[in-house]
């Protein structure tokens, strides 16, 4: 029944956000978005295309049409592994990988955090580590990531963990730069420059661990 109401459905122009495409296109080189001829090379090239709910081509089309919600809530943007295969093949020279990154950023700004896609969490953890020490330590990062997202995962990773320990590849010793202050100045300066508006929001969240834990 509910399916009946939700499907098939059409969209009123009023439901669309017509500013969205312009906003997205404001990224460096973003105007190329409007040159897309919907040939599908990106989708065909994408090694993850088969896992996506909307193919990259559709994401571009929907973005241009202003389907903001669908785009920002799509799995597609989280599935991009930044392999750049689409970007180099695109006959219109659209930087699709950067475009996906842009959408991720916007999704996070809009507070979209699909449970099954911990990319955002990873990023924050990463960001946290780097802001503190200027370097990240994978093993710690992974542990924290699992702790935050799905502690059970750690268990079925145990065997691998042991192997890594045995081969001396698993160290929890935290790497760090000496001149931490410089890193801090650097990143603050970027914040100050307001290069990306959502940074504050991100930073705020990191300040209150509970919030982070809630993710």
């Amino acid at each position: 029944m509910s399916e009946w109401q939700s499907w098939p459905r059409f969209r009123y122009e009023a439901e669309l956000d017509l500013r969205f495409p312009e906003e997205v296109a404001s990224m460096p080189g973003g105007r190329a978005l409007f040159a897309c001829i919907q040939c599908g090379t990106c989708s065909g090239t994408c090694p993850l295309g088969t896992y996506m709910d909307y193919s990259p081509r559709k994401i571009i089309a929907m973005t241009r049409a202003g389907f903001k919600d669908e785009v920002l809530h799509s799995f597609t943007i989280w599935l991009c592994a930044s392999c750049y295969a689409c970007a180099v093949e695109c006959p219109r020279k659209i930087k699709i990988t950067d475009f996906m990154a842009e959408l991720k950023q916007r999704a996070i700004q809009e507070g979209v955090d699909p449970k099954r896609f911990p990319t955002a969490v990873l990023a924050r953890e990463f960001f946290d580590a780097v802001r503190k020490r200027g370097r990240s330590t994978e093993s710690r990062l992974v542990l924290r990531l699992y702790a935050k997202t799905n502690p059970l995962k750690i268990l079925n990773q145990a065997r691998l963990g042991l192997k890594l320990l045995r081969t001396g590849r698993f160290s929890l010793l935290a790497e760090s730069v000496q001149n931490r202050q410089q890193i801090d100045q650097l990143l603050r300066a970027v914040d100050a420059a307001k290069a990306t508006t959502f940074v504050d929001k991100l930073a705020r969240e990191i300040r209150s661990p509970r919030e982070v834990a809630r993710v």
Partner: protein, 1128 residues
Amino acid sequence: MSTPEPKTNGAPKIGVYVCHCGVNIAAKVHIAEVIEFAQTLPFVTVAQEYKFMCSDPGQELIQKDLREGRINRVVVASCSPLMHEMTFRRATAEGGQNPFFFQMANIREHVSWVTADGHQATEKAKALIAAAVRRVAFHKPLEKKRVPVHPHVLVVGAGIAGIEAALKIADAGKKVYLVEREPTIGGHMAQFDKCFPTLDCAACILTPKMTQVCVHPNIELMTYSEVESVEPYDLRNFKVKIRRKARFVNEDTCTGCALCADVCPVSVLSEFDEGLGMRKAIYRPFPQAVPNIFTISRRGTPPCQAACSIHQNAQGYITLIAQGKFKEALDVILRDNPLPSICGRICTHPCTVNCTRADVDEPLSIPGLKRFITDLFPNYKLPQPAVERPEKIAIVGSGPAGLMCAYELRQRGFHPVIFEAQPVAGGMLSVGIPAFRLPRDVIKAEIDRLKEIGIEIKTNTPVGTAVTIEQLRKQYAAVFIGIGAHVERKLKVPGEALPNVWGGIEFLRKVNLEGPFKLGKKVLVIGGGNSALDAARTALRCGAEEVTIVYRRTRAEMPADPKEVEAAEEEGAKMLFLTAPKAILGNKETGVTALECLKMKLGAPDASGRPAPEPIPNSEFVLSCDAIIATIGQVPDLASLGGKLGIEMTKWGTFKADELTLETNMPGVFAGGDCVTGPDVVVNAMYAGKKAAISIDRYLNKVDMRAGREHEGPYRTEYAIDTSGTTVQRQIPMPAIELARRRTFDEVHTGYTQELAIAEAKRCLDCGICCDCRLCATICEAKAINYEMKDEIEEIVVGSIILATGFKPFDARRIPRYGYGKYPNVYTALEAERMTNSAGPTSGEIRLRDGSKPKAVGIIHCVGSRDRNYNSYCSRVCCLYSLKLAHLIKERTHAEVYNFYIDMRVPGKAYEEFYDRMLEEGIHFIRGRVAEVTDHAMTPDEEGKLVIRAEDTLIGVIRRIPVDMVVLAVGLEPQADADEVRRKFYISCGSGGFFLERHPKLAPVQTFADGIFIAGACQGPKDIQDTIAQAGATAAEALVLIDRGFVELEPNTAFIQEELCSGCKTCIPLCPFNAISFNAEKSVAVMNEALCKGCGTCVATCPSGAAQQHLFTDEQIYEEIEGVLSYV
């Protein structure tokens, strides 16, 4: 300023007419405001607006005002003057005024269409109108100059466009020159089987036109020719130079019987078949080629032949051997070498050093192959001289130099007499080279052959004692000295005089003349050259038990041929490197007992480029031995005659002879070979002999001995051959007798068998393409073949030129994702076309490389088109021919055919219908650009297939489609040399690189250069229909010019006001057309307006303002400048 005497039409009354151009101008420019402004401008008596000034009523407005005297000068503010200036000038003229009392303001292209803001547009329009008004007030009446148009037409490119244009013009009774760079006309269309959308046979509709071209009385067809240069002949016509490339076949006599191709031994990939088939070196692209004439592809002298100092045509006989044509091979060999069986054995073959095959794996065994032939025909004969001459020529020395000289002279009819000091002829060949490398009977046979053709040899006749050189000079017309270098250099160490210390040659001579003799158990050979190895190997054959070669450098620096070194070591000779003799120990009785040596180390490179050995202090040590052979080079035996001769010597004790002619300081006496160069290889001695023979011939004919001889002797060829993709296949080693028998003087190598020889010969890469075997010449009944043919330049004068140079297909290799060149069953569309062609390489069958029928075929659209990484334009024909190919493939293989497209673009009469038909025929159409073609199988049914991955954008899923064959619908690109060509013809290229038309809509076949027109794909991608239409249009354009017989030139020529000219001559050199000369007694510059093209450079340059340009006088331009600036 008073000249030319101004014919004025009284005080200016200027009419300004502002055009709306529908909404094109009116929507942006506030017309009313502009009109109001115009009325305020000086001398403006009328300011009007109208919807379309270019329309008849629009023009009528102007004419009426003129006739009724309201105005006498006209300004129209509308579109670009390049568009309608002519129109309004005519209107002005019809209104009764001189047409040049008119000026145009471009307020469409330069204002309304390019300005965002209406107000700004209006301001800009005002400024331009003000300028026009100010300018026109200073216009003067002018007359147009008429120039006759030459009635002949040049058509460049004989594809369907060129053919069509040429025929049209020729049918109108005008003379046409049709120039085509390929050997045949027909262009790409000739490659097709069927045409879209009618599916009628391309050949059936094209070949009749081709033959018409060939027979048409008004068409002068120049195939295999290219336009070299285009220069102005006069103000309007062209002087064109055309290069007729040498096809080495006489166009008038060749009957196209194709016998030559049958015998030609060289096969290369056929360009016409897109490399799917082969053609011969002498070829005709396809049977219906027009003209029906053959052409020989010659890349030039192959590297091997160039490197050989006697330029033996190796590629020639090698190719023939590969074909099993052994007798013919022999003839090629004998063409320039009378001693082949000797060279085949002992020549150091510089030819192999340059062999292109060496870039892939190893050079061919060129000498081995030559020897194979001479072994195969032991009793071959040398050619008899064609002429006879009385002169006798004395030749001193019967070595290779002497023999070659004698042969060459004999071939020229002279009677050479050879004087040989030794009991046997052959010089170093006989005495210096051991029999196991060069059997005596081989030498004898060669020398007998020379005797047979009438060369006399006097052995045991040392010149200097038996006869004196003076006698020879008296008795003989000329003398050649080739006594070689037989005198041993000395080691210059103590004990050298002891018994059993031999010089290498001395030792070899003894063995060669008197047979082997006991030398001792332990033998040391000093030196690292070939003769050291010969000595060592001979010593072994003389029963020595231990032979050691002592050399002061290392193996790497040994001058000897590595193969020989190997052989020597196989046979048991030992090597002792970095060791130099210090003293020879022993006494009169015992003879030599030991050699005291010094250890050496390598130092800085010496003159020879090799590191110089330096002795290591107190590193002496002693080698015991029973005999020592010192082979450290020789000098000529001057003791015998040199001293007494009075022939100049060098400080190295060799004869001094002129490098180019080999003449000595003694007129009529020539010298060459080792006695001039010092010890050298056999082929260079032969070269010297030949060189001398040429000199002697000229000397006796009293011809300049030096002229044009630079290219005798070895050189390197420039061109490079692409060896990529050649499969590695090493040189086939020549069979040799087993080691056990290497203690006798039997020849070591036994020579190739037929099978081996053919296999080895097949490794040749045909560097020169044509191998110059000249079989075709022998078979050609029409005697049409001429290897001496050279490119020729033909000069013509024409009044119009039509460029129909066509396109080149996009190179699919540039998109590696589609696997062209990697996966054999990925084809380009043009290759597919050839396959579908019943006259093609597969005679119309669609086949995979393995010959089987494809069950599924994918056609990929937009390859290289609509892609900003390559060409952003749409190639326009790909959708069409893809549909055609889809149909043909389905029809002939019943395979599933998939078309992958971005957008189907099939506009045109009966095009859409064809598309519909394909849909109904069950061709699959998938909307999505293919991501990649791969052999990576993910499922069992993908194994062994080519998988096409693409998003089906209409369904929205990613599909993997396994196929057997992929056809790439490659786009159309400008010819590789389009830019070069367009410069030649003074035209421009558009953004895509195609030739630029004068106006995209209104002048699609005209260019900015008067009298030069463009037709077909050189102007932009288009199909045959449109090409034909354009060709017709260009023909019409040309005919218009011819029929009218003249053109009117813009009267914008420059003129000089004598009274102002200071005679500074500045302008004269600056005129590109030499229109300005200097009048000495008046001391002023004089303008020849018949030559002036009106650029105005001289005017801008004239310091005194004496030079002026009609239509662009200084005052007119000043007014225009003030006009644009001082009103708004």
